[in-house]
């Protein structure tokens, strides 16, 4: 017989208690794996959308802070700061720059308050800068009242090419001239309109939210950034798409903190559950442990036995937790998507992985080891004579 067999048999003696304790570990491990998968998934989705898919390498903004810049670029926030349109020509004439996209972003909440539409005023440079921006139906803007709809917003509005859309907030009617191919990015939910129209609607003629820049050679990003900075006023910032995505992740920080606090609470409850259960086990089995010592069990043997029992419970709970996490993660991703107030990237923001699962299991098991220490020490400290004499 091995100590593992004995530990397993001891757990079987109070199956319901062991199951409940394992359930508390399960909840903690599941919470951790879900939170880690969402945290990792969101960061990956943001990077994929802002860095990998857009084709934009740099942004010129008036903001010094990447988080504020991200707010402008990603959320459609109308910042009091702006970029002068004259910088477009300066940028275009800078060596190493393949294309320059000036844009004006703004957001309007629908009159029923259920949705916020993001409008992006663009020029035809968008087709050169953003290779994934493809008009599937219809064509380019016909006049200043034209709009091109993202695939998702077109689906929601049941809009076809040629339809007219009225915005109560803007008090303006638009004609749909094109619908984009689904790109599984934030473009799917955006309304594109001519840059001049956007500037006029927000009363910022000649001014831009930012300028997106595509480089001829990404490996020369640092060199081009330095050159560009040298050619524009120091009031402006040249921010890499990677820094921008990190800025967007900054929006997520508060949500992230709340999620990790939830993990902490779950593990806290679990810790109390495990310690309580194992202390009860030790109290109930004092005479038996005393007997084991009589037949030659040393302190180390008793420590090992109680730790092993705790570990078994935690391994079962941890494995259950990561399995549950795999099922819950996609659902939690959908829920989080609906509640995020910051930038919501397209596609899945849940990224369960073997690494996340293994880490969650290790944390659950590690917690088990820590929780086992006190009860195991209590058990190992039993003096057989005292127990057998007094009980």
């Amino acid at each position: 017989m091995k100590i593992l067999t004995l530990a397993f048999n001891n757990i079987r003696r109070t199956p319901m208690r062991a199951l409940l304790t394992a359930a508390s570990v399960l909840i903690a491990a599941a919470t951790l794996s879900v939170v880690l998968a969402l945290d990792r998934g969101y960061a990956r989705a943001v990077k994929r959308e802002l860095v990998d898919k857009t084709g934009v390498h740099l942004y010129i903004t008036k903001e010094n802070c990447p988080i504020e810049a991200a707010s402008v670029v990603a959320q459609g926030g109308l910042s009091p700061l702006y970029v002068e349109q004259s910088l477009v020509a300066v940028s275009e004439s800078t060596e190493g720059i393949a294309a320059v996209l000036p844009f004006q972003l703004f957001a309007e909440t629908t009159s029923d308050g259920t949705r916020t539409d993001i409008f992006m005023g663009v020029t035809d440079a968008i087709r050169r800068v953003r290779p994934d921006w493809v008009i599937e139906k219809g064509g380019w803007f016909e006049n200043e009242d034209s709009v091109i709809l993202g695939a998702q917003i077109a689906q929601i509005e049941l809009a076809k090419v040629g339809d007219r859309l009225y915005s109560e907030k803007l008090d303006k009617e638009f004609k749909v001239t094109g619908i984009l191919r689904k790109s599984y990015s934030q473009d799917d939910g955006m309304i594109f309109l001519p840059l001049a129209t956007a500037q006029r609607l927000v009363k910022r003629e000649g001014r831009l939210s930012a300028i997106a820049v595509k480089l001829t050679d990404v490996s020369r990003m640092q060199e081009v950034t330095t050159r560009l900075r040298g050619r524009i006023s120091q009031d402006y910032s040249v921010i890499g798409a990677k820094e921008l995505s990190e800025g967007v992740l900054g929006f997520f920080a508060a949500t992230r903190m709340i999620m990790f606090v939830m993990v902490g609470v779950a593990f806290g409850v679990s810790v109390f559950g495990i310690v309580n259960t194992m202390l009860m086990v030790v109290m109930e089995r004092r005479r038996e442990i005393a007997y084991l010592k009589c037949v030659g069990a040393r302190r180390a043997d008793v420590l090992r036995l109680i730790t092993m029992e705790t570990l078994l419970i935690c391994v079962v709970g941890g494995l259950g937790g990561i399995l549950a996490g795999m099922f819950i993660t996609p659902l939690a991703g959908s829920m989080l998507r609906g509640t995020l107030v910051g930038y919501v990237p397209a596609g899945s923001i849940a990224a369960p992985s073997a690494g996340v699962a293994l880490f969650s299991l290790l944390v659950a098991v590690g917690t088990g080891v820590l929780c086992a220490l006190y009860p195991a020490w209590k058990a190992a400290s039993i003096v057989p004579m005292e127990v057998l004499r007094n009980e």
């Binding site: 004995l6 001891n10 079987r12 037949v295 057989p384 057998l388």
Partner: protein, 221 residues
């Protein structure tokens, strides 16, 4: 005969609240190979304390305890555990069988701590000796009190002890099962194992070759 366990002028005091209890007071006892000893006396006379000190489960407050000539007070916890594993078998009134282990597994339990590999034929032999071969795959809950105590006796023998210390081994048994357990002890004793029984039962004491009477922690006869 060779001395296995000797207690010389052993006393044991401990605190119970504000009161100091003199559980043993100057007890001298020698347990030799092949002995069959009964320790008798009223409740609180120090019988169990004597057994525990002889079994290296407790330290004497005064006096000397020797196991085969080695002073046990000089050994640490590890050495005492080794002595218990290799020299002494314990049997208690309450059996202390693990309810989820089979009879066979319960018998092999002490090997877990002595780090000896289980030998199925040895286990089978022991179960044969205690008359429980047919019960080896049963759980303790499926056994009678007498059978459980016989399993406990088999378990005490697994490490081939030189002496078995039994604390009220028949205390929880009816007369028929008590007789069976006593016969078992006698058989083991004839095979050379020293047996020390703590008992209230005068009939059981009468079957032992030596009887030690304790009163108030002192040997009175």
């Amino acid at each position: 005969m060779n001395s296995l366990i000797s207690l010389e002028n052993v006393s044991k005091f401990y605190k119970r609240g504000i009161e100091e209890v003199h559980a043993l007071d100057g007890v001298t006892l020698d347990i030799a190979e092949g002995d069959l000893i009964a320790i008798c006396g009223p409740s609180g006379s120090g019988k169990t304390t004597l057994l525990n000190i002889a079994g290296c489960m407790d330290h004497a407050s005064k006096g000397v305890v020797r196991i085969r000539g080695e002073e046990v007070e000089r050994g640490g916890e590890r050495r005492l555990a080794e002595i218990r594993q290799s020299m002494i078998g314990f049997v208690f009134q309450q059996f202390f069988l693990i309810p989820t282990l089979t009879v066979e597994e319960n018998v092999e339990l002490p090997l877990l701590f002595s780090h000896h590999k289980a030998n199925p034929s040895r286990t089978a032999d022991l179960l044969e000796r205690v008359g429980l071969s047919h019960r080896r795959h049963h759980l303790p809950g499926q056994l009678s009190g007498g059978e459980m105590q016989r399993v406990a006796v088999a378990r005490s023998l697994i490490n081939e002890p030189k002496v078995i210390l039994a604390d009220e081994p028949t205390g929880n048994l009816d007369s028929r099962n008590s007789a069976a357990v006593v016969e078992l002890f006698e058989t083991l004793n004839r095979a050379g194992i020293a047996i020390v029984l703590v008992t209230h039962n005068p009939d059981l004491a009468a079957r032992c070759r030596k009887v030690v009477h304790l009163e108030d922690g002192k040997v009175v006869g």
